[in-house]
Amino acid sequence: MKKDIRDLFDGNEGSDLELPKGHRQEFLEKLKKSKSRKSKRQGYVKIYRVAAVLIVFLSIGMVVFNPFYKDESEVVSKSPIELQIKNIEKGYLISIGNEWKSFLKLTKDEKLIERYERKLESLDAEYREILKVFKNDSNNISVIESLIENLKTRLKLLKNIQAHIKLLNEKREENETITI
């Protein structure tokens, strides 16, 4: 049923009602209470703000100080360990090159040279394979050891075969048979 809103005030009902005594005081007290509730809420907000700041700082701290965190930019450029391995590799490759030259001067056995050439090539191919693993797992000690071991092996092989040939080349005049 429709009702005109103006009719509601027609009778002026309640217009002659008086405000109770002490209403002002009562209002002020209510206002005070509401203020204290508000200040409590503001206190919580402050704690949340402090917690949020703490979390932000801790997160930054974790990123900056966490030794296991890897920054994207670091991944793109060479990490200290990669540079270190590069240096170790450079040193070994120079020595291997020198040993190879002196090995070639020492022997004329084409079969032996060919076999060593093949061997060094296969070790080099292996090294490249390990390097691929190293690129994704550069701080893994086993991978680093494999890389260094590969270089060491090449150098050791060349040194050992030269010592062997030198020993065989020592001049001895007679052939002998030992009878025990």
Partner: protein, 394 residues
Amino acid sequence: MRRLQFKIIVTLILLISCDLYSQKLKVHNEELEINNSVETKVFLNVDNLAFVVEKSIDDKLHIDCELEFTNYTKAEIDETMKALTINTGLKGNEVSIAALSSRSIAPVCYVLSEDIVIKEVLSKDEESKEKSIHKSKSSMLEEVNKESIKTLEFLNETFKFEDQKGNEKKVSIDNVQVLKSRFVLRIPSKVKLFIKGNDTKIKMNGRMSNEMDIDMKGGSLKAKIMENKHNKVKMDDVDFKVEAIEGGEYAIANVSNVLMGSIENAKITSELSEMEIGEIKKNVSIVDFNSVLWLYNFSNDFEHFDLSSEYSKVHFFYPKTDYGLKVFGHNTVNYVGDMTVKMNPSKKEEKGLMMDRKPQGEGRFSGQIQFDMKHSIIHSYSNLKLEINKHQKQ
């Protein structure tokens, strides 16, 4: 209010601790019903992982794989798991297991943190092996069984580390991540096992009587007893330690550390390796190119031992019981005690008799040894009196 503070503290602690933690993960767990017969074939294809192989006690095939991460973030664990795949298949009498990882996972792996780098590789005494000290079979077995898992102390002895500022620093649990793996394959006693490994560490527990066909490149193979005359083992750059080989053919190349407690009824083809044998038993032959061999002991019934070599170095300790010996050489030097005997190279590259010992007929005859050598060096060790006949002047 206090409750809220507590909640905040707990949240913060969780936030910090969830990043770095230690965690064990089951990667794969499976058992397969198969026929325990020689007709059944098990193919294990492994890349960059470590596997323990042993006999199963219930005639089923079991695969259990577990990883333990320390100091790894959740993301790093996920990354490692992503790099790892394990697939199994059963078709008729054939089981195939492929366990592949693009990352190297040893039984224990150490990964350096970003704040520590290798400054120097400390060189070890590489010539130490050249010492000609006799080893008994039991001391060889001790060496074979020596634990080879690397510790942090070992790393500090092998490398010199420094921090980003260039100060010397030791590796400790604070600046490394540790990844432990335990991948186990248990197989019934009669099935034929095929292993194809690439940079893989295989450890075989107990007596393995299964017929095995092993082809490995890189990594290591450690075994107790490999007992099957049909075994075929091919290793390239694989650290090989075994208590006893009883039958089979072994091709060993580029292995700087071969330790065998004893060997019998086996053929070895080797090159560019360093191989120590604790005891040579029945029917063993070696064909070698440019390796260093240590033949420490012979059993008193070895019957015959043949060595054919080129550019090899042999440390040869005479058998203790009666034996026969013939050494033929071309461009070969033989060091016998304080004496040096050489067979100079001939134009026709013919080998001449360098050393001859006929059985003395005293005590038990253990067997006949024959060396056939080119461009080789022999170090013979004996207390026996020698008589030298200088003849065959060229």
